[in-house]
Symmetry: C3
Subunit: 319 residues, 3 copies
């Protein structure tokens, strides 16, 4: 089965997951993003690359934050953006996912930005479009279940490259609920492709995915050991709904074992950067003094996230 993300010329057709994307495509997206970083600093923050294109934000799962980043990116590319909160829409009338897509396709959609609680939903849509030869319509996965969050992965790579220049000599630790994290999954795939030599995951055994060992990832239950000499610390968000559940101790207990404090951060390299996909739970996975400290690059991630999304959308629209 061919990779549904690439067209027959090997160009990016949809962005569904970072798994299976060749290094030159990842690098091309990051390079393109760097040309867009300056657009957001201009007096007039707009380029006409997608003027007259119709971008649909199909959010089957509520996420104002992610939806906003795509909406801004699309508007700065001059696209027309239509937000569809699908919980409140036709699917509640029993229309199937693909009927919804067919309808919007018939309205001459150019791009679907899809967020869905179910892993694989954006793939389903992309395969459906491919099967019907609708080559001019593109899908961007804005997070599907536990599976993937590729634009988050890309903006994390952009941030790491910006601060560390070279991927091939880095130690990177991902901390927290790795098991349920689509961010962790997307980051790991991208880092593998881009040549990060040492990837570590840190968390309680119940929140680590045993299969990762086979991917050459080092697993740590002890945070102090896991952070030793790393160049990059990626903190994951603890899902509130999981706290006090079967897999997670209380917020206080979690912080005691896995919260990133200044003392723990001191175990990493002195110039280590601290990342977080947001929104942060201060005092649960990260101490405020670290979140606001000078090693944190969390707000840079947000800034680069707009540029990376502009890059992805404009590349797709151009292919």
């Amino acid at each position: 089965m061919p990779n549904p993300q690439l067209n027959s010329n090997g160009e990016l057709r949809h962005l569904l997951a970072l798994n299976g994307l060749p290094k030159d495509i990842l690098t091309y997206i990051l390079d393109t993003a760097s040309s867009f970083v300056s657009v957001s600093d201009r007096e007039v923050k707009k380029v006409p690359l997608m003027r007259g294109k119709s971008v649909f934000n199909l959010f089957f799962e509520n996420s104002t934050r992610t939806r906003t980043t795509f909406e801004i990116a699309a508007k700065r590319l001059s696209a027309d953006v239509i937000n569809l909160n699908i919980a409140a829409s036709s699917t509640s009338k029993g229309e199937s996912l693909l009927d919804t897509v067919d309808n919007l396709t018939a309205m001459s959609a150019d791009m679907f930005v899809v967020r869905h609680a179910q892993s694989g939903a954006p793939f389903l849509i992309a395969r459906h479009l491919n099967r019907h030869g609708l080559d001019h319509i593109h899908v961007v996965n804005a997070g599907d279940g536990r599976h993937a969050h590729p634009t988050q992965g890309l903006l994390d790579m952009y941030t790491i490259r910006h601060y560390k220049k070279d991927f091939t000599n880095l130690k990177v630790a991902i901390v927290g609920d790795v098991l349920h994290s689509r961010v962790a999954r997307s980051d790991i795939h991208a880092m593998k492709t881009l040549g990060v030599p040492e990837i570590r995951v840190i968390g309680p055994t119940t929140l680590l995915a045993p299969a990762m060992k086979d991917m050459g990832i080092r697993m740590f239950n002890n945070m102090n050991e896991g952070l030793k000499d790393v160049d990059v610390v990626i903190m994951l968000r603890v899902q509130n709904e999981r706290i006090n559940g079967a897999l997670l101790p209380s917020a206080q207990e979690f912080f005691k074992s896995y919260g990133l404090t200044p003392e723990r951060l001191a175990l990493a390299k002195p110039d280590a950067i601290v990342m977080h996909p947001g929104p942060m739970n201060r005092g649960v996975e990260i101490d405020s003094s670290v979140a606001d400290g000078k090693q944190a690059v969390i707000l840079s991630q947000v800034t680069y996230g707009i540029a990376v999304r502009m890059a992805v959308m404009s590349i797709l629209a151009g292919n």
Copy 2:
């Protein structure tokens, strides 16, 4: 009482219902729509006909689907679109419908697209504007109660004309819950005006409107008889909330008697087209093999729906 939809020159001032619109106006809308079909195929899907105009989507009843079609149409005409979900707004603070309209008028609204659960609400607004001499503000009915859904009626006529060329030699069957359907009502009025010689409605007696007999419409309880030799089949959506109620048997029972299957469709003319206003209940009123079959023109309806709405909005804004 003069027709509130027409100005003193007999031009379209509001689009409220297809009942009472002369044939030349219907034809003019369809002709204008055909010039807009190609806009949605362009690289830049925009024309500047409504640049700087303020279009308000006043949705007193939730309908993401219909709201989206108007939003797209308005944006492709370069209008500024403001979506107001009025359930969550001032009327919940006790403000009357007409106070809301007066307020938006004072904000220099150019057009109201109105969806309301109550039949007649868009007429009330239009008459209010007319009475106050606000000739430059236009109302489009986007569905009011059981009464009318004129843009759906127009897009259905566009679709029929596209595939059948001539209205004056057609047999058209409308199937399902005709009694509660604003789509059926709008279609019937338009077909009468455009000269369709034979209109049939098919459904259980409880869901047909006896008064239709007086309009020369043929009524059928037996679907096989009703479909015989028709050129066009318009399936209506079965409202989920009505299933298992007093008037409707279970979904399975309904499908057995009135679901459109390939076998039943074979009773119509070989080149008959199948239409549906969407969203479809597959397996309730229509079999998937018909919905996705080559006689179905359901997605073309959606495409033409954008063009028809662009036509209506630009004609109103120009008058």
Copy 3:
């Protein structure tokens, strides 16, 4: 502590409250607004003053009506507008107000229009931006708790100036629930600054703020006495949730004592104007014949409200 609303040149940096704004700034806003009134009458209702700027409507409290006025104003200035209904967003995931602001700042926001149930929230944001040297990002208070609603105050001043020309010879009465009204507070501060010599508040003792006496405001429990010879009557909205509560009698009782009827209005000057911030409760605080009568300037307030908001936004963006 310096006034967070002004920059070091004494120019408007944020619009948070009318309290503390010098007369020349209020007058400058009103003068600028008057140049925008005509924009909304044009064929193309747009000026390019904020093209490519990103305006975020941060509504932590639902208000379709106010949000709409800012959205229209921003779109007529050609800004990109992003609506964030924050109840449904990250803060529900436990993100703090300032983390949300930092994130949007990192997305290159140019302006925040903030509505919040808590008094002081827009100040908190403005001070945070000031402290971090983010001089290019501006905050407009769209209503915070009981504290202030400065654009409403400004549009009220615009309306009074339009009809009465000169502030310095006026008697103005504010009627109703003054105690809980941010509109009353903003109006009073503006009128004080602009030189209105006689300000009266009328209402039951339980709904008047005793501290106002110290500001030189005349307090009346008897409406007939309070309205005598005034030039301007500003009716306040009775909050439905307060009716039948501890502080407010029934709607009927309130109307009997403080509803503005034609008879009562006759006690004011013959050319007195009647204002109301909307939405009106007809038959509670105002009789319909007054609301729709020729002394009412309530819809003019709405019209001027768009112009005033365009003025505020464009002045902030220009400074």
